[in-house]
Each structure stands twice: as C-alpha cells, then as structure tokens.
C-alpha cells in the first residue's frame, strides 16, 4: 500500500512538475533557432489576385483617366522542418505566450504547441491546426476553456503577425478529425485534451483571421467566391 502510494505521488510529481520543467527548458532553448529562422526565411509571393478591376473615366474635356489594378498578394514562407520552432502564439486574455514548433508527434509536442504539417501554416488561407498539451510539458493550453468568442490569438511567424478572432469553442471526440478539414477563408484551429487531467475528449477553439500579411488576399478571395456563388 505504501509502495503504491509512493509510486502514485512520484507519478504525479513526474507529470505535473518534472515535465513542466522540461517544457519550459525546451521553450527557452528554441529562442535562438527561432531568431535564426526570422532572420533567414525568404518570403515569397505565391499568388496575386486583383482587388479592383481597372476603370476608365472620360473627363468632360475628353481626356480619359484609367485607374491601375490593385492586387492582393499571398505571401508564403518556407515550410519548417519537423521538430523545429517557426513562430510564436500569444493569447493575451489568458496570458499565453509560447514558441510554436512544426509537427504533432510525441517528441515535438513535449517542446510546445505543434502545427499539424498537413494543414496550412498560420497566416495562410485554409485551416491551420495547432495542438498542445493541457496539463503536462509546460501545459500551454491549460486555460483554453476560459477563452470566449471575440478573444484574439496572435501568431507571429517569419511572415509577420497574423491576428485571429475566436469564433467558436467545441468539445469533440479524439477521433473527430473533421475539425482539421479545409475551410473557406483563413482559420486557426487549436486542439487540446479535455477535461483537464484526462485525454477522454478534445477541446477545439476555432478563430478567423482578421489582420495580417495575407488578410487582404483572403478577404478578396472570399468576396470573389461569394460573388461567384450568387
């Protein structure tokens, strides 16, 4: 009985104290590599779309003026390697500020929140998915249940700052992979274990892009699709 009790205490100390020390160390150790990425990542223009078509106006005196086409660009950054840091995530309303890593494998998630490699990077059109521990390894998403619609999530990558606004919070089963499905516009989906201290369900927070280097492109594309549909 004493041995079982001691093992249980050791287990809880390992999970709730030791792994959090490891998580904090990984976050600190990632900072130089992140700075290096910010300094060297080459930003490219992947695509452009016209925001407004050119218009020609004939003046009373017979002269004509033509407005030029205003274009929205979609900027991209190089795909990060698995396990490497590529940005930061901040959620001011719950005091979260963590380094983001590429990948959702077990070793990567021990370092901090991880981006699902088969979804777009944050700041890009589509549904960028980020997973994170709830109670162990730095517990980056410990307070995710306290978020409310309208709260902001700021993701910074080599591309710049992308600001998202929370639109919905749901609880799903761990196998509900549809939450990672492609979406129209630019979305950020955060996933974590639920309830606290259990991996029984997943807490999902979904937020829409409201500001950032690709916002004009995303919004223009959305308007075009809406016009095409009507």
């Amino acid at each position: 009985m004493v041995t079982v009790g001691a093992l249980l205490v050791a287990f809880l100390a390992y999970q709730l104290v030791f792994t959090n020390v490891l998580g904090a160390r990984s976050q600190k150790a990632a900072e130089p590599a992140l700075e290096q990425r910010y300094a060297t990542a080459e930003i490219a223009v992947a695509d452009t779309i016209p925001v407004a078509p050119p218009t020609t106006t004939t003046m009373p005196e017979g002269t004509t003026t033509t407005t030029r086409v205003v274009e929205a660009a979609r900027y991209t950054e190089p795909a990060p390697e698995t396990g490497t840091p590529f940005g930061t995530i901040e959620i001011p309303s719950i005091g979260l500020d963590k380094v983001l890593f590429e990948g959702v494998d077990v070793p990567t998630l021990k370092k901090g929140p991880g981006h699902m490699p088969w979804t777009p990077l944050p700041g890009q059109p589509g549904n960028a998915v980020i997973s994170g521990h709830r109670t162990t390894y730095g517990a980056p998403f410990f307070d995710l249940d306290k978020l409310e619609n309208g709260d902001q999530i700021i993701v910074t990558t080599a591309l710049g700052k992308s600001v998202y606004e929370i639109r919905r919070t749901i609880i799903v089963a761990p196998t509900d992979v549809w939450v990672t499905d492609e979406m129209q516009g630019a979305w950020l989906t955060l996933t974590t274990c639920n309830p606290k201290y259990s991996a029984r369900e997943r807490l999902i927070v979904q937020a829409a892009l409201i500001e950032g280097p690709n916002y004009l492109y995303v919004e223009t594309e959305r308007q075009r699709q809406l016009q095409g549909a009507s």
């Binding site: 999970q15 792994t19 997973s131 521990h133 709830r134 162990t136 799903v172 992979v177």
Partner: protein, 54 residues
C-alpha cells in the same frame, strides 16, 4: 533493503556497482511506465484516427 544488498554476489565494490546499475534500470523503467501512463492524462491534444492515438 540490507538483506537484499547482502544477497548480491561478489565483494563490496561489486555489490555497490550492482546497486547503482539496478537503481538506474529501475529509474529508466519507471520513466517508461510514467510516460505510458501519462498518455491517459494528456496526449498532447491532437486529433487523429484511432490507429494513430496512443
């Protein structure tokens, strides 16, 4: 504990080395056990089809 120590073969130096080795192996096994059990507490929050879940 002392009786277990006495059961170890060889002179005292060998016994101490064996104790250190046993403790290290026990700690490693405990780490593996704790990591495995920790998956029931917090998997990292990712969603996946069943075969990819721990």
């Amino acid at each position: 504990m002392r009786r277990l120590y006495e059961l170890l073969p060889g002179p005292p130096v060998v016994k101490v080395v064996l104790v250190v080795l046993i403790v290290l192996v026990a700690l490693a096994l405990l780490g593996v056990l704790f990591e495995w059990a920790g998956q029931f507490l917090d998997t990292g929050g990712t969603v996946a089809v069943l075969s990819y879940l721990p």
